[in-house]
């Protein structure tokens, strides 16, 4: 471990961390945006969900590198390729939680809302989605953390991330770089997760104990 390497390469480390964060978080947010309408449809029309679930499970089984390579002809060696691939993966973990969250809303609650004159859209927006939020947030957390971790694989097709430190460290037989990259990926995942936990608490004050 060569500590002096860190201050000497501060700007590189910072840039790679930022790019890794972007490549990890954006796909999870896109995944959420896609999961909401799909999940709402799947929760409402039950026949829709099993085929969708089969497709996303197959997609989730595709190795990330293979998916990157499959997208290269269309999008080249760009951020877009990594973001699209990781969005697909985050969709795979978030969508089931959207469906589970909406299905977990007690029938008595939706029935009471209907009986009080809520239309379906208003009920969805003000009753069902808020109540599904804790479960959806749990899915988003997994999506963000796995996105941050998978983003480093993008380095293999030349898309810049903390993965650079792994590959460069390996090629130069310089373990310090590898350790720094590993610690930063984990720290980045932890920080993002904590931020999401905080956001989740703020969004769902009723779940606080006591």
């Amino acid at each position: 471990m060569m500590w002096s390497w860190i201050p000497g390469n501060w700007s590189l480390i910072w840039q790679l961390t930022w790019e890794n964060a972007k490549l990890g978080v954006l796909p999870a947010l896109y995944g959420l945006v896609l999961s909401l309408p799909l999940g709402i449809i799947a929760a409402r029309w039950r026949w829709f969900y099993p085929p969708v679930l089969t497709v996303i499970n197959i997609l989730y089984a595709v190795p990330s590198l293979a998916l990157f390579i499959a997208l290269i002809p269309a999008f080249g060696l760009t951020d877009t390729t990594v973001i699209i691939a990781l969005t697909v993966f985050s969709l795979c973990v978030i969508l089931p939680n959207v469906v589970a969250g909406l299905r977990a809303v007690p029938p008595a609650v939706t029935q009471a809302a209907t009986a009080m004159g809520y239309g379906p859209l208003r009920r969805l927006a003000t009753i069902e989605l808020p109540l599904a939020t804790p479960i959806i947030m749990a899915g988003l957390r997994v999506g963000v953390v796995s996105g941050i971790s998978l983003a480093s694989v993008g380095q293999l097709i030349g898309v810049s991330s903390l993965g650079y430190l792994f590959i460069d460290g390996l090629q130069r037989s310089f373990p310090t770089e590898i350790y720094v990259g590993l610690v930063l990926v984990i720290a980045l995942a932890l920080v993002c997760d904590l931020l999401l936990v905080g956001a989740g608490r703020a969004l769902t004050p009723w779940t606080a104990r006591g």
């Binding site: 609650v109 009471a112 209907t114 009986a115 809520y118 239309g119 009753i127 109540l131 009723w206 006591g210």
Partner: protein, 382 residues
């Protein structure tokens, strides 16, 4: 007023939940739909706010077919209370109660202010307004459910097994609260229950359902108890319906005796001269009952001694003449060591006593004069 005209609900699999139901729910009255599970009572209730649509027939609300009304408007004018409360877990108590007023365009602040008044109305501390439903007990949640249903002051209230999920003590207090509210608000209430006791306690009219959605009997509670239409009704109402029916008979016509009643400063000789097997001693001045003294205990006392000096047995409980029912009077007699019920006035002063013979005479008289108005006017307290 709610009118069912030949309403049938048949499901696609052929099950008939409600079969050509005709029913009139008078404005300002409580009609209880009671029956075994699967008898169509809940389906009938849910057709009123169109959670379920009838297969045929129609339902009129104040003369208008409910299908001609805007669905959301119709529902906002009908309070709905269910067993599982259906409270919104993510909203505070006050925001739960404010739901319908806010939906109909009232400002959140006004709606919350009103919500606090409603909390008081249903017997809850307004300090609970900022809590979430899961922080309340089952009974409190159910009261919030009632407050929420009343928030927009709808003329109609639908209650589906509203008190079935709480323990018997809480249930009784919720029922009492409903009776108090109803005496004040005079809503048109349709309440579904499987509990015939509850039906008899809170209903102005009871509709007893047979399985598969037919009404076996529609009658005021005392009539249901006094003259069940057939064996099914009699069986459902229960074997002690004769005694329970006495809840609806006033003690106003009961003959009271004052023979055994003496004050604390009366002498032993005077009490003995009456020849009564039991003497009821009352406090000089207040007129309240002190207790029963039997003739054997009296026998050993000096003639000049006063009754106040003697130990007396407790009276069990008394009944308030004219207010309490014959059932309360009969219960008082059964529990009394002397086998006589002590009648008091509103202030607790002893008016006299009723023996089993006098109670029997009153019961028989009530059976002969099947007078609706008299029975309706009888006290609610069993």
């Amino acid at each position: 007023m709610i009118t069912f005209e030949a309403v049938t609900k048949r499901y696609p699999d052929g099950t008939v939940a409600v079969d050509a139901l005709d029913l009139e729910v008078p404005a300002g009255k409580t009609v209880v739909l009671v029956g075994p599970s699967g008898c169509g009572k809940t389906t009938s209730l849910r057709m009123i706010n169109r959670l379920v649509e009838p297969s045929s027939g129609r339902i009129l609300l104040d003369g208008t077919d409910i299908r001609d009304r805007n669905q959301a408007q119709l529902r906002r004018g009908i309070g709905y209370v269910i067993q599982q409360t259906g409270l919104f877990p993510h909203r505070t108590v006050e925001d739960n109660i404010a739901t319908v007023p806010v939906l109909t365009g009232l400002s959140r602040r006004k709606a919350r202010d009103h919500a606090r008044e409603l909390l008081t109305l249903v017997g809850l501390d307004p300090a609970l307004a900022k809590r979430y439903p899961h922080q309340l007990s089952g009974g409190q949640q159910q009261r919030v459910g009632v407050a929420r249903a009343l928030a927009a002051d709808p003329p109609v209230l639908l209650m589906d097994e509203p008190f079935s999920a709480v323990d018997p003590v809480v249930r009784a207090s919720l029922q009492d609260q409903l009776l108090l509210l109803q005496a004040e608000l005079r809503k048109t209430i349709v309440l579904v229950t499987h509990d015939i006791e509850e039906a008899i306690k809170v209903g102005d009219l009871v509709a007893l359902f047979r399985p598969h959605g037919k009404i076996a009997q529609l009658a005021p509670p005392d009539e249901l108890l006094a003259s069940p239409a057939d064996d099914y009704v009699a069986g459902f109402v229960g074997f002690d319906r004769g005694i329970r029916r006495l809840s609806f008979v006033s003690t106003g016509q009961l003959t009271l005796g004052t023979g055994p009643v003496f004050t604390t400063d009366a002498t032993v000789a005077k009490a003995r001269a009456g020849g009564e097997p039991w003497i009821l001693v009352t406090e000089e001045g207040t007129g309240r009952a002190r207790g029963w003294v039997d003739a054997a205990r009296l026998a050993g006392q000096p003639d000049g001694g006063t009754l106040g000096k003697l130990a007396a047995d407790g009276i069990g409980h008394s009944f308030t003449a004219g207010t309490d029912s014959l059932r309360a009077a009969l219960d008082a007699a059964v529990l009394s060591p002397a086998g006589q019920a002590v009648a008091v006035d509103g202030e607790g002063r002893v008016l006299g006593v009723a023996t089993f013979d006098q109670l029997r005479a009153a019961i028989q008289a009530a059976g002969q004069t099947e007078d609706e108005s008299q029975a309706q006017g009888a006290g609610q307290r069993p």
